[in-house]
Structure formats: C-alpha cells, structure tokens
Symmetry: D2
C-alpha cells in the first residue's frame, strides 16, 4: 500500500485555521467596499509595527501580481531589472513583469545556490553600457528565500542593497517565502528589509488562502501603486477578505509558526539526504541528487515531487508545507536515507 504523499509544492496547501476564522469573521455585509473597511485600514499600521518602519500595504491576488505591480512602480518601460537567472519573475510568471512595466527587460545574473552577489552582478552586467541605445538599469530584485531553498543573511542582503544603491538602483524583494527566511534566521523582520523599497510579502504558500501583500517602504510610490492595482483588476470590492487573511497571518505570529513548521520538516528531510543535497537547505525546499532509478522507486512508494534540472539528471525538488503530515515526512526521510 502506497499512500500518496505530496511534496510537489507548498502552493496548494490548506489555509490555516486562523485564516479561515478571519474570513468567517469578515463575512457580514459592510458599509464600504474596496479598501474602505476596517480590516484594510489596519494593514499599514500592522506592518509598520512589524518592520519598525513606515509603509503602505496593499493586498493582491497572487505573488505574480505582487511582484509585477511592485516592479512597475520602480522600473520605467525603458528600464531594466537585475535579477537571478532562476528568479521566479524571469522563469515562472509568463512575462508579467514585462506586461506590468510596459516592456522593461530583466537582465540575468547567475549565482551559486540561487543567490546573487555584488561581484556576480557586476560580472554579469559588465558588458551593459547603459547608453541611450540600451535599457536603463533601475532596480535589483532579490528573492528571499531563494528559488534554491537558501536564505540570504541580513549581511548579504545589506551588501546587495548597498551595491544597488551605489548604482542608483531601487531594490525589490520577492518574499513569496519571506516567512521561511525569517523563521530560519531567527532575526527581526526589520533586519532583512533595510534599504528595500518594496517587498512582496507572501502568505498563500504559508497558510493563506487568496491574498499576498505588497509592502511599500517607499511610501511615495503608494498612489501610483493604487492606480496600477485598480487598473490591473487587483482591487476587489470585497477587499476586506484579503486584508483579514493577511492580518490573521501576521497577528500573533502565525506566519512564523507556519514557516517554522515547514522549515523543520525540510530540515528533517535534509538530514536524511545530507550527502546528496544540491543546495543548503535553509527554508522549506530541498533539492536532491537522486540515484538512477530512485525517482521511479520513490514515485512507486507514493511520493509526489518534481524532477528538476536537465532531463535525465535525476535531480529532484521536495517542498514541505506548513501542514505536511509528519508521517509523510517521516516516510520520505526513511526512503531518502536508504541511499544516503
């Protein structure tokens, strides 16, 4: 008997009880639609307290919308975003950044384990002249945690921010798994956003239902973002449900508890596959060099996961969610340990 066990992604996890309760509480009819309700009005203050810094917070329906809308406020149509070669904005958003910015370009920078470095950025962009015949570098986009399941330390983020600032660029952080990064580091959230203009604060992968938050630290961009959000069909009339979800995630530390649970599961799996990890496991994803035939055997045992890397490479990605059953993790750990 092979009970199915799902490690494909955290993106179809259950919403957590706090989120479901918040939706129910926000259900009764309200006087005002859009952002005129009591929940929506709390967001700026709540995140301001969380980050120790003034900010404007606007919910949207997806991480893709959060990234693309934030970037559109920071990169002109003739501009460019420097980002990692494997960044979600480059690889998995069907050109949303190009659509929302009016045709800006992403200039790609490689980096080990999904991480950018100042030197790596310089090397990748060395041939970019920046004269009138070329797009103008305007923004750096960092993914925290990265696409490889690694986490930038506060010092690494600061170095990247300083590098960007020295060139006159703004900085965006794709934080689809920002909670996992903070939970891993055990730092204050503020430690990771100094000098950041806009953060895509992920909720959905971490126990949310249908809302992500754009956190604008450069509040001068807020009006522009409001117009762009409306124009993009990302300003729902029952906005209270988005705001209520986000509040439920952030209040009382739910976001960090959920992320810590997911991270712990991934750490447990990492122990079992310690000799063959492709990247350090610092968040809730692990990338494993499987043996020939092992992917098939694992699937026969009921494990669902994605092949990664080139065809035939036997690389695999496993993602743990806040609600992945411990038994499933145990079972996968045991299976992975057999080739350890």
């Amino acid at each position: 008997m092979n009970t199915p066990a799902f490690f494909l992604s955290d993106n179809a996890a259950a919403p957590c009880p706090e989120v479901l309760a918040a939706l129910a509480a926000a259900a009764p009819a309200q006087a005002a639609g859009y952002d005129g309700d009591d929940w929506s009005r709390q967001l700026d203050g709540l995140f301001g307290a969380l980050f120790g810094r003034e900010c404007v917070v606007l919910p949207v329906a997806t991480g893709t919308a959060a990234n693309a809308l934030a970037l559109a406020c920071m990169v002109p149509p003739w501009g460019a975003v420097a980002c990692h070669t494997e960044a979600h904005i480059q690889v998995d958003e069907c050109g949303a950044p190009e659509f929302f910015t009016g045709g800006a370009k992403l200039l790609l920078c490689p980096g080990a384990h999904g991480k950018l470095t100042p030197a790596g950025i310089d090397a990748a962009l060395a041939s970019h002249r920046g004269d009138v015949h070329q797009v103008q570098l305007a923004t750096l986009s960092i993914t925290q945690a990265t696409e490889c399941g690694t986490v930038y330390t506060p010092a690494e983020v600061s170095a990247l921010v300083a590098h960007a600032r020295s060139r006159g660029w703004r900085v965006h952080m794709d934080g689809a798994r920002f909670a996992n990064a903070v939970a891993h580091l055990g730092c204050a959230p503020a430690d990771l956003v100094a000098g950041i203009d806009a953060l895509s604060f992920g909720c959905i992968k971490n126990g949310g239902l249908s809302a992500e938050a754009i956190v604008l630290f450069d509040v001068a961009l807020a009006d522009q973002l409001r117009w762009r959000r409306k124009r993009a069909g990302q300003m729902p009339s029952k906005g209270r449900f988005n705001a209520a979800q986000i509040i439920a995630m952030v209040e009382d530390g739910v976001w960090l508890r959920n992320a810590a649970a997911a991270n712990a599961g991934a750490a447990r799996l990492a122990d079992a596959a310690a000799q063959r990890l492709l990247h350090p496991v610092e968040a809730n994803e692990l990338f494993v060099q499987l043996a020939p035939g092992e992917p098939e055997r694992l699937r026969e045992q009921g494990f669902h996961f994605y092949d990664w890397g080139d065809a035939g490479s036997n690389e695999a990605r496993f993602v743990v969610s806040w609600d992945t059953p411990p038994a499933a993790i145990d079972r996968l750990a045991a299976a992975l340990a057999q080739h350890g």
Copy 2:
C-alpha cells in the same frame, strides 16, 4: 435613533452561506495547484450545461479583470470597442481595458436608460472612417443588466449581436449583474448569450466572495486567455477556492435566488418612488429624482446611498443586495413614499 441602512452598493454584501460552505469544503491541502484541482475542472462542464453551449470558464479576482482580459482576447492594440458612454469599462476601471489590450480605444455610444441600440451605435460612430489612420472597430461590449438598472430583452440583445456581426465585430457582455437580468426576465440563460463571444459572469455582487468567471463561448480564444490570465497575475495557485465559490453560486440555482431577492427589494422601493424614477427598475438598482433637501433628510434617517448625476441635481442611486435586511427596505420605502 437612526439605525444605519446601506444602499450604497451591492459590492460589499456578505458572501452567501453556500459560498462560505464551499470554501470550507475546499480547504484541505490538494495535490495540484493552479487549475489542476477537482473544482477547477468542473467549471467548463457546469457552464456548458447552464448555457447549453460549449464554453471555457476561467475565474479571476475582479469584474474589472474579467472585462479587461476578455476584451484583450477580442480587440487588437490598434482596435476599438464600441460601448455605452456610461459603461463600467469606460468610467470605473481606471483604464484597465486600455492596459490589458495594449492600448485599444473605447468609442462611446449614448443611449437612453443605459441601453445601446443599433441605430444609436450607427449614429455615434457615423464619423468613424475606419481607414489606416484610425483604430479598427473590433468588438461591441454590452452591459447586462445596464449601469442604469435596466435589462436588455433577449430580442434587444439579438438585435445588437446581429448588428455587430454584420460589421464583423465580436461581442462581449459585461455581466457583473447578469444574474439580476436573468432573474428579471425569467428566461433561460442561453437566451441572452446567443452570438456572444465572451461573458463576464458576475458572482461577487451577488453573494460571492472573491471570484468572477470569464465564460468564453468562442473556445478558440481559450489558450490566449490562459496565457493572458497568468501574465496578469490572475491565476492563483489555490485556484480551487475561486472555482469552488463559482460552483456554489451556480449549482442549485443559488445565483438566481440571490438575484431575485435583490431584484424584489428594488421593485418594492420602485413602487414607493414610482412617480420619480429616472430609469425603469428592472434589476436591483434604482435611480430617483429626490426633492430639494430630501437627500439630507434621508441621510439623517440613517440611509446611505450615492448622489448621482450632476452636483445639485438631487438625483440618487439606491442599490439592493441579496442580503439587504427587509426591515431596511421597508423603512426606505416608507421614507421615499412620503414624497411620492
């Protein structure tokens, strides 16, 4: 004591119990994200049965997104949409159609009580030459029920569709209140969509929480719409919650029951203000010529509603929702009758 009573809009109404139950049922973690779940896969069949016609159904987060994405599939950047002067796509979407289409134009046609007619369209567009120096008319967009709370009969829709087709245009229907129109007419839903390429099927104003449905009757546009939707950040990873809401609305006739309740409330108010209605009341909105001083007096009595028309005109709009308390309707009816 003046208890507040809200007639501002149906857009902040409560989600109905069936929708809340459906969200709860869809909560457990799923194997597949995006549209790979059991709920999302039911949509095409469900609407195909409802309309007696093959269709592809894709949920989005707002009515603005539904309209703009549908139009983008039917109007090239150098194209034009003919629509009513007061259409939501022109007046209330912050240029979303222009954004999603890549810069198409809306060409405006007046018409009494919010309704277009073939002759009115011809008159409004008489000076449009259509040569290479002008945008190319590509699509007609009809709002059903209209912005004035009126409803096109099946014969009126057919005449507009025939007119559009004779000129080689496609037809889009903004059905933010499509349910109210069907409930008013008592017709089969199919009677209102013959020859329509895409329908924005509204749920949110009618008891939904966060999802509208784009119903594509021209299924050849489906792939394009899928890419555009992803690219617009309108394809959530937990797509099952959008699909589940929509299913809950359509199954067992919830959508028509909710709409009928709202329509009945508006009809009751219309009786009370029968001598001074600005438009026939055929859906869930009424527009009333108030007397001087009456807006202030009504507001003192706790009624919330929008002024309409030009400043100082004493015109007012009242909207009834599926869940507007009967007592509130009674009270407003009595207040309006005093000037009847």
Copy 3:
C-alpha cells in the same frame, strides 16, 4: 480642359528649396551617427533663441510620433489627456497616444470651430470624479492652428494654460501647423508657448521633407524623451538629415514665409466663399458649405479636395500649401465665387 488642382492636403507638398539644399549639404559622411553631428547639436540653441526660453529639441519622423512621444512623457499609463473631440491625436493617429503612453485615455471636449475653452473643458469633464477607479487627468493637449483652420490668440492659449495649471495638468501643443498660427497672428513665437511643456513643431506640411521637432520646454523630461525616442525607432543613425531640415526651416524665417504664403492663398479663397464658410479662415484651410451638385461640378473642373462632415452634407475642406500654384488658387476662387 480641366487641369488638376490639388487642395486635398498640405501633407504631400514639395519640400522647399532651402530644405533640399540643407540635405545636400549634410550628405558627406560624418564621424558620428545618431545625434552626435554638428546639425543635431545646434537644435537646442536655435529653438532656445526662437522662443526666448530654454528647451531641448529632438526630431522625429512624423507628427504622430511627435505628439505621442511628447504625451508619453507627460501622462502616466493610468492618466488621461483632455483634448478636443476632433483632435488629430483622437481621430487620425490610429491610437498612437494610447500605444506610446501605455494605455492612457483621451477625454474629449467639444468646442466651436475646433477650439477648446476653459468652460467647455469643465462642462465636458464635469462627471469625471477622478477617484482611484478612474484615470487621472494629467495633461491638456491643444492644437494650434486647430483642425478647423482657426487659430487660438495668445490670450486664449494663456487662459487654457492657466486653467490646466490650476488643476495640476501639464500642457501639450500639437503644432503641426504652428507656423500658420504664428504667421496669422504676427506675434512672437514665444507669445504662444508660455506655460507649455512640450510643443510638436510641425515642418513637414510647411515645406519640410521628413522631420518634425519635439520642443520640450520642461527640460527635465529630456532624458525620458531620449530613451522613449530610441525605443520607438525614432532615433535615426543619420540624424543629421533630420536636424539639417529643421534648421533650414527655422533659420532665416523660412517657416514663416512658407506659412504666410499658404495662409494668403487660403485667405484669397475665403474671400471668394465668404458667405458660406463653416469656420473662420485663419490659417491655410477652409471649410465651405457647398451647394447641392457643386462638389461634382468642382471635381469636373479638376479640383481635388475632401468631402467633410456627414455624408450628403455638401461640406468640403480645401487646404492650401506653401507651394500651391497661384493659378490654381485663382481658378478655385473664381469657381467658388460663382455660388458666393
């Protein structure tokens, strides 16, 4: 014998001798391409002297490009341009403003004889709320001379500029026939551009060959315009030919001599049709109410011109160019006088 005589438009007139000579003089190979040549570097100073005001001047290939690029620097994608119902940017540019701005809207204001007035603008935009659900009014676009062959006086321009400024809007002037306006008024060019941010300075209709000039009085927009121009394929590598043409037009008053010649021809025709002019004749176009059958008779006599207004209205437009043969004008004047 009916010799053909062309009054269709000034847009296919011959380039004037000064322009042809300038092209020949710029022919030899140059060291630097794009805007690095001696001609291109003269433009800012030349126009600065002409208008008594600092400006940045960038040539483009068409009036449509001049208008759309200038507007794109002054209207965000979520913005709106107020303009006359019959403005070239609305009627004859196939949506170029929408394309270059990333989807901004044009909000149309009627006005007698092609002219906007502050009161007319206010009336036309009275119902525009300007909240987050609507596009944001950002710029007024004035056409000088107008599409109806009339000319704004300096006082009229100033009143419109003051009106726009009081609302926080920028001001663009479509000067495809700016020379005709200045020649008519006999004023200093500076009298017509106080408070204007950008002027599309027309050359092609007035004896140029292939270049129009964008004159940016708000020089803070210059970098943006340079990037947008390059990105639009409007920055030719042999930019010296565009600059040389424009210099030839402006130096030694060629532009005003050419325009005065065209205006004088139109004035002569206006005398002959004085009783049936549809608009005052202040530039080089006249609009005449012909008698039934007269269009056919004029065409039999070899006159080429466009029907105007609604089908069957017998309205006609006649345009005189800088190089329209005097004999052709005499002949048309005589023909028009027969019904005078």
Copy 4:
C-alpha cells in the same frame, strides 16, 4: 600630420548619389500623401521580382523600427523570441522589441562568431518548459550578416529555418547588413530568405539616407503591419521619399555594388590583420585583437574605431562603409600589418 580616418561604423556614411538623385526626383508636390504615390506603389513588385516571391514592403525610419514592428506582427505579448545573445534587438534597441510587442521576452542563445545553430538553440532553451507559467516561444530572429561580421550560408539559414518550423516558430531576419551578406555569398537574394516570414532589409548603412524596408513574405501579416506602423508614427505623409530611396538602392544593383565595395575594404584590412582576427571577416566589419598600446598608437595616427569586448582586452572593431576612402583603408591596412 594625422588625417582622421573613420572606422567607427557604417551608420553615418554618406547617402549614395543614386539615393540623392531619387530624392530630388520625388520632390515636386504630389496629389496623394502617405503610401498613395507612384513610388510607394512600386515597392511590392520590385521586391517581389528581387526575391522571386510575393511580398509586401513597407518603409520605416530606422532599423530598430523595422525589427520591432516586424517582430510585433509575429510574437504575441505573452510570446518569446529566440535570438543570439549579442543580437542588436537585445543589446542596442533600448527595449524596442518589448515595447512594440507589448512585453514579449527575448530568450538568448549563445553561438560562436555571432552565429546561431540548431544545437546551440536547443541547448540554450533546454530548461524552458513552455507551460502556461512561461512565455511561449513564437519566433526565431536571425541576424544576417551577424553582429560579428560573419555571414550565414544559405544552408545554415535553411537549417535554422527548418529547426524553427519544426517547433512551430516563425522566422525573422534582421538584415541591417543583408546586402553585405548577399554580396559576400554571391548567391541569389532568394537563396537566403526561403521560409523567412519577415526581413528587415537595411538601406541606411549601405548608402541610404533615412529609410529601411520591412519585407513581409507572409503577406497575411500586411494589414496588421500597416496599422502597427501608423500607430507607431512610422507612416510619413511624404512617404514617397522613403520609397524613392529604397527603389534607388535596389534598382540597377546599387545595393550590391555598395555592399561589395564595403566588403572589399574590410577584406583588405583582414589580410593585413590575418593573424589576429577574432572572427572570420565575411562582410564589412572586422574585429581584431590589438596588442597592448596599439589602440592608443592607432588613435594617434588618426584612426577612429570602437574598443570592443571587456575593458582592457585591446579588442577593437573596424567598420568599412561603401564610401570609405581607399586611402584611409590603405593607411589602416599598413598600420595593422605592422603588428601582423
């Protein structure tokens, strides 16, 4: 005495006598503007004869406009263009392809000496999944002659076309120096465009003044291109001057004579630097590994050229134009031979 000698680019060369004569011949006023003149109407037939294949030809003002407009007709906003890492559309057009397509992406493929190969394309795009979360590969863009001064043989073009077709892609050719390629190969022009949908046929670098030609072999795209061209401000009212230039280039083989002259000059220089060429010299550009100090010495002798490659690499690019003085070539050949 160091006479200056210019090898920076062919893009500021003189227009050739045939082109200047054609402009003069087209100068007199014409009845019809835009594309309604006798010159514009000849283009389709002239190129149809040249390529032995039906085509529609539309002039534009720059190579950037030619490339971006052609691509916009062949790649949807959610699409992608596969092109060489060093392609002009990627490196030197300030994001024009993204602007004109509405935000499509360029996916970059490396290749030795500026040339793409089917295997190189496959390798570069191996990780592109092409599911709904990614842009859709739609078109291959080939540069002929390449950015490295090399030339694809007819067999190489055919292999790339076949590869693209097997994947369902269209094919665009950036032929800014197409003439140099044909002159080098001595083949029929038709041998290089089999299976190509659109060719940017360069004139300006090869003795033209201000017009390039888009040659559409897929004539079904012609209407779309006409609208896009108008909307982009690339349809001048005195279109006859663009058409006349292009006709002058193509008639009587001027384009091939000019290109052959430039190629011959480059070949002469290549002989002198044969031991240190970075790429084969097959068109009118050569890339040379200079010795330390040599760039400075060459500049002291009056030679103008661009440094190439990374800073300090002592790589240099030299471009020969149709009209580069033989004495200048002799002098540079002698100078280069000193380090041969």
